[in-house]
C-alpha cells in the first residue's frame, strides 16, 4: 500500500508516522506542502505538530496550502485520508471534516496516555479493532475540544461517524473521562463516506512495546486489510 505524509513547517510527528507506516510495510513518501502533485497514494496522512506555529488558529494556514487542493481532490476520488492531532485540526479547517477543535476546556496543554473506545469498527480504518474495545493512546494537544453544530452532531450519531470516544479504564464514557471538554467525549470522527478519519490521539506513538504499547498497530493493519 502506498502512503504519503504531508509535511508543513512546524509539523513534528511527520517522521513518527513515517516510521510507523514503514514498520507496517507501507511504501511511504514524504510530501512538502509546496508541492502541487501527490505521488500515487492509497493513504494520505496529515501529521501532528504545530504547522505554522498555530498562527491565527491551529491548522488555519496549513489548511490553505498548495498541496491541500490535491489532498481534497484525492479524497473526493476515494483516497483514504488520516489526520492526526494537528492533522485533524487542518482537515476541519479545510472543511474535509465538519466541526472545529477548540481550546481545551481547562486551557492547558495535555500530554498523557488516555483511554479511548472504538465506536465504529466497520470502516477501512478500524476493522481490526472490536467495537467497544478500549485502547490506551497518547494525546498531546492544546486544542482538542471537538465542537460542531447540533445538526452535524445528530448526523455523526445517526450515521455512526464517530470513530473513537474518550473513556476511563473500564470503558465508561462520562465527564470525568473527558480530558479536553470535547462534545460527547469525541476523540475522532469520519466524514460521511468514511474515507477520511480525523483523530486527536496519536496511534503512531503506540506501535512498539519498547516505547509505549501496541494499541495503535491495528489502525494501520486495518488499512492494509
Amino acid at each position: 500500500m502506498n502512503s504519503s505524509v504531508i509535511v508543513f513547517p512546524g509539523s513534528n510527528c511527520d517522521r513518527d508516522i513515517a516510521v510507523a507506516l514503514e514498520k507496517m510495510q507501507f511504501k511511504n513518501q514524504m510530501v512538502w506542502h509546496k508541492e502541487t502533485k501527490l505521488p500515487k497514494s492509497d493513504l494520505i496522512v496529515v501529521p501532528g505538530g504545530f504547522s505554522y506555529g498555530d498562527y491565527l488558529r491551529s491548522g488555519a494556514i496549513a489548511g490553505k496550502s498548495l498541496i491541500i487542493n490535491e489532498v481534497i481532490k484525492s479524497a473526493n476520488e476515494g483516497c483514504l485520508v488520516l489526520g492526526i492531532c494537528n492533522g485533524f485540526q487542518i482537515l476541519t479547517e479545510t472543511g474535509m471534516l465538519k466541526g472545529v477543535l477548540l481550546r481545551n476546556k481547562n486551557l492547558k496543554f495535555i500530554n498523557k496516555d488516555v483511554n479511548i473506545k472504538v465506536i465504529n469498527n466497520d470502516t477501512k480504518f478500524s476493522n481490526k479493532y472490536k467495537n467497544n474495545q478500549v485502547l490506551k493512546i497518547n494525546i498531546a494537544h492544546n486544542e482538542g475540544n471537538y465542537f460542531t453544530n447540533p445538526n452535524h452532531l445528530k448526523e455523526l450519531n445517526d450515521e455512526n461517524l464517530i470513530a473513537f470516544k474518550y473513556c476511563d479504564n473500564n470503558g465508561i464514557i462520562n465527564k470525568s473521562s473527558n480530558p479536553n471538554g470535547s462534545l460527547e467525549n469525541i476523540a475522532g470522527i469520519f466524514n460521511s463516506k468514511k474515507n477520511i478519519l480525523g483523530m486527536m490521539p496519536h496511534p503512531e506513538r503506540m506501535v512498539d512495546n519498547l516505547i509505549s504499547n501496541t494499541d495503535g498497530v491495528n489502525l494501520f493493519s486495518s488499512l492494509l486489510n
Binding site: 491565527l56 488558529r57 488555519a60 490553505k64 479547517e93 466541526g99 472545529v100 477548540l102 481550546r103 476546556k105 481547562n106 486551557l107 465542537f147 460542531t148 453544530n149 471538554g181
Partner: protein, 96 residues
C-alpha cells in the same frame, strides 16, 4: 504645472488611505475559556460589576484599492476565507 504636481501626491495619499479593522470573536453560544479566566482574574483584582468578558482577535488591514465599497467587500471575503472560522466565530468589519 504647479497645480498638477500638487494634486498628484494628494491623490496617492487618498489611494492609500483605505484602512479597515476586523474584530473576530467567538459566537455567543461557544464557550470562551480564555475570556472567562480574564474575567475571573479581574474580579480577583477587585473589579466590581463585571458582567462578562469575551476575548477576541483584532486585525488592521490597509489596502491599495480606491473604491471603498469594493475594498470592503474584499475585506469581507478575507474574513470568510481565512480570518474567521464561521462555525465558531463572528466578525465585524469597520472602516477606519
Amino acid at each position: 504645472m504647479k497645480l498638477i504636481l500638487a494634486k498628484q501626491p494628494q491623490l496617492n495619499l487618498k489611494k492609500n488611505k483605505l484602512k479597515f479593522s476586523v474584530t473576530v470573536t467567538l459566537k455567543e453560544n461557544v464557550l470562551d475559556p480564555q475570556g472567562k479566566v480574564v474575567q475571573n482574574t479581574l474580579q480577583n483584582l477587585g473589579v466590581e460589576n463585571l458582567k462578562r468578558i469575551r476575548q477576541g482577535k483584532y486585525f488592521e488591514i490597509e489596502l491599495n484599492d480606491n473604491d471603498p465599497q469594493k475594498a470592503e467587500k474584499k475585506v469581507d471575503d478575507m474574513c470568510k476565507k481565512l480570518l474567521a472560522n464561521l462555525i465558531i466565530e463572528d466578525y465585524k468589519v469597520n472602516k477606519i
